[in-house]
């Protein structure tokens, strides 16, 4: 009955995440999101402060010094997926119940 192994499901989720972050993100709407739009309309955004990490190599979801926008955003997205996967997956492995040794 169990047609699809856990490995394939995991691979499927990873591939979808990489495609979304690496390729589809280029086509995402660049309009301000709900909060940013409301902040602009109400004047809240005047109080926004420059982000301390605004000059980072991946700031604003684009890889620094990569001129091609599609490539720059794609690389940043893929890097983010990998970093989040490693951190959250690693944390989960540390926190999990281990099988009793016997």
């Amino acid at each position: 009955m169990r047609a699809v192994s856990t490995k394939w499901v995991a691979l499927g989720i990873l591939v979808v995440a990489l495609l979304l972050a690496g390729v589809v993100s280029y086509y995402a709407s660049s309009a301000p999101d709900g909060l940013n739009r409301v902040a602009q309309d109400t004047g809240i955004s005047r109080t926004e402060k420059q982000h301390a990490a605004a000059d980072g190599p991946l700031a604003g979801y684009s890889a620094k010094d990569v001129d091609n926008q599609r490539l720059s955003g794609g690389l940043a997205g893929v890097a983010g997926v990998v970093v989040v996967l490693v951190l959250a997956g690693g944390l989960a492995l540390v926190v999990r119940r281990r099988k009793p040794v016997s």
């Binding site: 989720i13 995440a17 309009a31 004047g43 990490a53 959250a88 997956g89």
Partner: protein, 231 residues
Amino acid sequence: MHVPDGFLDAPTSVATGAAAVACVGVALVGARRELDDKTAPMAGLVAAFVFATQMINFPVASGTSGHLLGGALAAILVGPFTAVLCMSVVFLVQSLLFADGGITALGTNIMLMGVTTVVVGWLVFRGLQVVLPKRLTLVPFCAGAAALLSVPVAATLFVVLYEIGGTADIPLDHLATAMIGVHVLIGIGEAVITFLAVASIIAVRPDLVYGARRVLARRELEVRTSTGAAA
């Protein structure tokens, strides 16, 4: 809905930071019950999926977009405590590496888009599961409804926080109407994505969906009974 630096004053940011640390602490303890050798890798994948999906802004109204928050989705896929950990990792990485969401606002963002959406999403989901028949086909619908509600509640909490510690003087009713209105629309997108994601995994491996376990446990019991009767 990533709050940047400067929107909320220092005391409010310190308070949300402390609340976030407490919630992550509780989640670290609670997640132990949810995570084993089989589910731990799923937690990493769900966090990565939420990160990727948050990059996909979809248009909701003229000149306005929204993206999945993902707390309800994560809670249903890997359990609420683990979901808080997944969401916190996403916001930490977004803030430090991508300059998305202020560093002083990290606690605020974890509370709004992580803890609130997880808690509201999970409570609505479990509530619906209690009321509705225990059928596997209903799980994605419950997930979608939970996701739909989680977004405007998070927006409402932002309005409350802004009333407490906002750095500009904005009329409450104006802010509340604008924030909740647009986030109901974003909630519809959240519901669609959550429905599709949960339905896809249930179609191939329902046992990997934390929120489907109770439904599955019931089903397995029924199967055993019929086998026993046949034998």
